[in-house]
């Protein structure tokens, strides 16, 4: 094996005409494998370039190759042929091909065509990694110092998810005083402060009484004469404050502010309750009761299970000419009828396709 520098990177420049301009190949020499990163569409037009790159590497004695598909935007038949052909070629040379980070869409195509079953696939795609991060943030072990961090994530997501919201905050009663622990912007932070300063307002009322306060039109409200003019001066026209409830009663409020009067309808009120429930679970230390390692292990198991299910789905789709959802439904029903789990059922489907070729090799 020739000596090659580690982590050397070479970009292959290509013609900058429209579609091909977005295509690029990157080569990283890692310790045990050569990573070939592809950006753009992998099809009959671009596949030969990747093929030439891999042929070149093989000539230099590199037969363990990882194709990084994380930035492949589209995989066409030409790309499939490349992957299948390269895998066979490298196997004959005593090496192997690994696929890294295919998108869910690409993975689905590989599954349907049965190619994924003959290759090692590394790393969950970006979508899966995002989910894993979310579950860690929502339900990871609760330490005092990270509760506020999780609440900040909740207000950020809530501000994006609730149509009409210009800002979201979470206030908590701590040490007998209400204070803002997470705010999606400075205006909502000041809105909360105006309430603490004047000692009145919907946030304080929701936190104290444990019931939601929906102020459709701030200008018409007469309950909080000192606070309301300050809020209007900030450009706020409607407020929805939802209490954070636990078994021990109300512990604070989730506040949504809008510059539009009547911004919040039934849908927004329901979403507010969902986010408020999340926030109170975080504060109350609701988690899976798992250590970080155990949580990682469950997520790893779940990812493994997804892969097996996707494979079985692809096999059933090809075998029975059904859609992806119909294939899932077949697995669910078979598992129920046979008193087994969906994962076990899927494993059996995958196992049923192995056999003849491998037996022939051992003969």
């Amino acid at each position: 094996m020739p000596i090659t520098p580690l982590f050397r990177t070479r970009r292959v420049p290509l013609r900058a005409d429209g579609r091909l301009g977005a295509f690029a190949i990157r080569i990283d020499f890692a310790e045990r494998t050569v990573v070939v990163g592809i950006r753009g569409e992998l099809d009959a037009l671009t596949a030969p370039m990747v093929r030439a790159t891999i042929d070149g590497l093989e000539e230099q004695g590199h037969t363990r190759i990882t194709l990084d598909l994380s930035t492949v935007t589209f995989l066409a038949a030409g790309g499939l042929g490349l992957i299948a052909g390269t895998a066979a070629q490298l196997r004959r040379a005593g090496g192997d091909l690994t696929l890294r980070s295919p998108s869910a869409q690409v993975l689905r195509i590989l599954d349907i065509t049965g190619i994924s079953g003959r290759l090692a696939i590394e790393d969950p795609g970006p979508l899966l990694a995002l989910h894993a991060d979310l579950v860690r943030s929502a339900w990871g072990p609760t330490r005092e110092d990270i509760v506020d961090d999780k609440l900040r994530k909740v207000v950020t997501i809530a501000a994006k998810a609730i149509v009409g919201a210009d800002g979201v905050s979470v206030s908590l009663t701590r040490g007998g005083r209400v204070k803002t622990v997470a705010a999606s912007n400075d205006t909502v932070l000041r809105m909360d402060d105006h309430q603490y300063g004047t000692g009145e307002g919907p946030c304080l009322a929701a936190a104290a009484d444990g019931v939601p306060f929906d102020i459709e039109r701030l200008g018409d409200d007469e309950r909080w004469p000192t606070f309301v003019p300050l809020a209007i001066a900030e450009g706020i026209a409607s407020i929805l404050s939802t209490p954070l409830l636990t078994d021990d009663g109300s512990i604070g409020a989730l506040n949504i502010y809008s510059s539009t009067a009547g911004a919040f309808g039934a849908h927004q009120r329901e979403l507010a309750v969902v986010f408020a429930t999340h926030a109170s679970e975080i504060v109350a230390g609701a988690d899976l009761g798992l250590s970080e390692d155990e949580l990682d292990e469950r997520i790893a198991d779940a990812l493994q299970s997804r892969t097996v299910l996707a494979l079985a789905q692809g096999i059933l789709m090809a075998r029975s000419q059904v859609s992806a959802d119909q294939a899932s439904a077949l697995l669910h029903r078979a598992a129920r009828d046979e008193g087994t789990s969906t994962l076990r059922q899927a494993s059996e489907v995958v196992a049923s396709t192995r056999g003849p070729t491998e037996d022939a090799d051992h003969a």
Partner: protein
């Protein structure tokens, strides 16, 4: 607390499964919605398609089965009992 509207949420409480545990099982079954969205589905704030509702039903049914029970939740396309 008011009686939950959604049959999935009632089943989740019956079987004593946390929202987090349900989400991990749903995710393992190929679900792609976020934890917060799953929470929203169970609380009636978001409507899920039949494939996602089936995954949630499977996750709950398999927990019922682990505890020695039956599969109480129907799947899409089942004959109404």
């Amino acid at each position: 607390m008011p009686e939950p509207i959604d049959v999935l949420e009632r089943a989740r409480r019956d079987v004593g499964m946390s929202m987090a545990d349900l989400w991990i099982r749903y995710f393992a079954l190929g679900g792609a919605r976020t934890p917060i969205e799953v929470d929203a589905v169970l609380n009636g704030a978001l409507v899920a398609d039949v494939a996602d509702r089936d995954r949630l039903a499977v996750a709950l049914n398999e927990r019922f089965a682990e505890l020695g029970g039956d599969h109480p939740l129907p799947y899409d396309g089942d004959d109404p009992a």
